[in-house]
């Protein structure tokens, strides 16, 4: 019964995908929306049941072997699923947030002609994401990993008539491929080292290695390359801001809440491997911290509402990797969950604003939307507070857990974390104030068009706002008398990794001091933002305005895209141009055409001999006999 339920988990979205994908054109919009949402709801219900089962404590792990997938030589990969506390938390996030976003999409995408196609892709994404999370070995995870990449590509390029959107989709896909190659190589190395891809055997095998073994470090680093690509860390982060070309619900679901966190999930899943390799942990923490600050600085000056959120996502993912890097696996997953809530909420709120503004995304043209969009305003406010780390909202607990571990592990990382946190608070409230307070700066037609979104969009917002507000309590630390429910729940998964790391404990007093520091400077940043954008009515400079050098550097995203274009894309394009014009057209096409024309010409010559003249035939026969005899003599 339970096994059937686990198998049905990814099959429901697949069914939805097939129905909407094959017959979607014939469905009315309501039916298409139902076919899109119901499978996700069903999966959510199953996930909830499984979660409750695990919570009761009777069962700790469920494994389901569906069928033998790959059988080659010594390699045997079953298509099997694993339900343990970690995957069950991920399942809840994916299906729960996924369902809310599906419902929201039914309203948001209502006027789009490719409505059914949208839901088909979304369901396919949910299916692959469930595979990724459910897989009991690295091969199944990789299957889901590639699948979500594909869906990401399809959904970023959803409005495929726009060339810029298509380019963004291609960029995302190619950058993901670079990371995927790392993952793939890591998988090969895992098989080479442990002789299996199954989690159980790999982790048991890893237990026999001592800390710092080169093979383990190599595996950990290669897997991290995969995570860098998927989770948009330095240096492969540039695809994520461009991915905002997709519909806003897609940005919320794929590029904020679920897919981009796959890298974090993968590292958390492989925590034993990382615990055995301090060097790899160091790299993860360094990359995470650098990304957290770097992306946050870019977010400070962006004027596109979705771009700000995109850089914020990159920055928050950096936090999660910091957590992984300093050994706070629970903290990372905790932040993953809370981030899924508030970032999905932020994106959906932004979607609601964009919807009201008739497609306008530039915050310089917004302002004063508070009275027009009250529900969006309050929910967005809750999300902004949550992400800024103000207690008692969700972000505070998860972020401070990470920063606490970082302080215990490496002060520099902690310092960067605090810096990122300040920047986050500032740019979130800059965005918030510019959007909702002050005077409206758009056109008259936009003003008359302003309206609150329909119920189908606001209800998910409210639910997500509740989760953002209260979600932190699942990880209430001991300082506040909590038991840290999430840590206890996840402890079977992380026990061994944590044991090997033997993390230093912080005293409660120190913890409180750190929290106070973080909250204080975040609040200061918010007040500063209020001072600049509310009291002084500051508005960011327009496109034509001359910007100070440093400002322009950040506004242009440090010219990273241009740099990549110059040093990687252009040379590659030039090289392929050479190969195309020379190797492809001349050599390959030439060979093919040559063989064709050779046959044609030869036959047109030989054709003339077949004129039906018996005399000639006899002549040819005699020549043939002569040749045979000649051959005879020669031999």
């Amino acid at each position: 019964m339970m096994k059937l339920a686990v198998c049905l988990l990814p099959l429901f979205p697949l069914l939805g995908f097939l129905l909407n994908g094959l017959a979607g054109r014939k469905f009315s919009k309501n039916i298409a929306a139902l076919t899109g949402c119901l499978p996700v709801l069903a999966s959510f219900v199953i996930s909830l049941c499984l979660f409750i089962q695990l919570l009761k404590g009777e069962i700790t792990v469920i494994t389901v072997d569906c069928f033998d997938w790959l059988q080659a030589g010594g390699l045997s990969v079953p298509f099997s699923f694993l339900i343990d506390p970690l995957s069950s938390v991920m399942l809840l996030v994916v299906t729960g947030v996924g369902f809310l976003i599906h419902v929201y999409s039914a309203g948001y995408m209502h006027d789009d002609e490719a409505f059914a196609r949208f839901f088909a892709y979304m369901n396919l994404f949910i299916m692959f994401m469930l595979l990724l999370v459910l897989g009991n070995n690295y091969a199944v995870m990789f299957c889901g990993w590639e699948g979500v990449g594909l869906c990401s590509y399809l959904l970023i390029g959803f409005w495929f008539k726009n060339t810029a959107y298509n380019n963004a989709a291609k960029k995302a896909f190619i950058m993901n491929r670079i990371g995927d190659l790392g993952f793939l190589l890591g998988m090969f190395l895992i098989y080479n080292t442990f002789g299996s891809l199954s989690y159980k055997e790999v982790f048991e095998g890893a237990g026999r290695f001592t800390s710092g073994t080169p093979e383990i470090t190599a595996i950990a680093l290669l897997l991290f390359v995969g995570a860098i690509g998927k989770s948009a860390q330095i240096p492969l982060y540039t695809w994520l801001p461009d991915a905002m070309a997709g519909p806003t619900p897609v940005s919320a679901l794929i590029h904020a809440a679920t897919m981009v966190t796959a890298g974090v999930y993968m590292i958390a899943r492989s925590n034993i491997l990382y615990a055995l390799s301090p060097a790899a942990m160091g790299v993860v923490a360094a990359v995470g911290a650098a990304t957290a600050v770097f992306a946050a600085t870019i977010g400070l000056v962006q004027n596109d509402i979705k771009k700000v959120l995109a850089y914020s996502t990159v920055s928050q993912l950096g936090y999660m990797f910091v957590a992984m890097g300093v050994g706070a696996f629970t903290g990372g997953i905790f932040h993953l969950v809370t981030h899924a809530f508030f970032k999905a909420l932020l994106f959906l709120g932004a979607g609601s604003v964009i919807h009201a503004m008739g497609g306008e995304q530039d915050i310089r043209k917004m302002g004063g939307l508070r009275k027009h969009l009250p529900v969006t305003f309050y929910t967005f406010l809750i999300a902004a507070i949550a992400i800024s780390g103000i207690p008692p909202f969700a972000g505070f607990f998860s972020k401070d857990e990470i920063l606490g571990y970082a302080f215990a592990g490496n002060r520099l990382v902690w310092l960067l974390g605090i810096l990122g946190s300040v920047l986050t608070a500032f740019y979130m409230f800059r965005l918030f104030y510019l959007t909702f307070s002050g005077k409206f700066r758009g056109t008259e037609t936009q003003l008359s068009h302003l309206h609150e979104s329909p119920k189908i969009m606001t209800v998910p917002l409210v639910i997500l706002a509740l989760l953002s507000a209260a979600g932190g309590f699942i990880g209430m630390p001991a300082v506040f008398g909590g038991t840290h429910f999430l840590a206890n729940f996840l402890s079977p998964v992380f026990a061994e990794g944590a044991q090997r790391l033997s993390l230093p404990e912080l005293s409660h007093g120190m913890e409180l001091v750190l929290m106070a520091v973080a909250v204080f400077i975040a609040a200061a940043a918010i007040l500063y933002a209020r001072n600049v954008y509310v009291l002084k009515q500051g508005v960011p400079a327009g496109e034509q305005d001359e910007l100070p050098v440093l400002h322009r550097l950040v506004y242009r995203k440090y010219y990273v895209d241009e740099l990549y274009d110059k040093i990687i894309v252009k040379p590659l394009m030039a090289l392929s141009g050479v190969f195309y014009s020379f190797l492809d057209i001349r050599v390959i096409d030439g060979l093919v055409n040559f063989s064709g024309s050779l046959v044609l010409k030869t036959s047109s010559v030989l054709r003339k001999t077949q004129a039906g003249t018996i005399g000639f035939y006899v002549f040819a026969m005699v020549i043939g006999v002569i040749l045979v005899l000649l051959y005879n003599i020669m031999m």
Binding site: Q610, G612, T613, I614, G615, Y617, F619, V622
Partner: protein, 104 residues
């Protein structure tokens, strides 16, 4: 005839000459009946050689073969000439260059 002594290579040369003349005739002439005659010439060249070698080795098989070749040649000529008559009836000629439908 008991003092008759001749190397077999002489017969070989004679047969090869006759056979080559036959081949040349086939290539040379256009009249189907003459071509037929040239074929008979080639057959006879082979017959002569067979008989010569049969005598050389004292083997009767060679001469029996000549006999069979004659039989087949006779049958061939009968059928071949009948076909020629049919062709002549249809195209009023025995020129092989007119018979150029043997293609495709």
């Amino acid at each position: 005839m008991d003092n008759f002594q001749i190397p077999v290579s002489y017969y070989l040369v004679l047969s090869v000459l006759l056979f080559s003349i036959g081949v040349m005739g086939v290539l040379f002439r256009r009249n189907a009946i003459v071509i037929f005659m040239c074929i008979e010439l080639m057959l006879n060249a082979v017959n002569l050689l067979l008989a010569a070698f049969s005598v050389l080795h004292g083997d009767t098989g060679g001469q029996v073969f000549v006999f069979f070749i004659m039989a087949v040649a006779a049958a061939e000529v009968a059928v071949g000439l009948a076909i020629l008559i049919m062709i002549y009836r249809n195209v009023k000629s025995t020129d092989i260059n007119i018979l150029n439908k043997l293609k495709w």
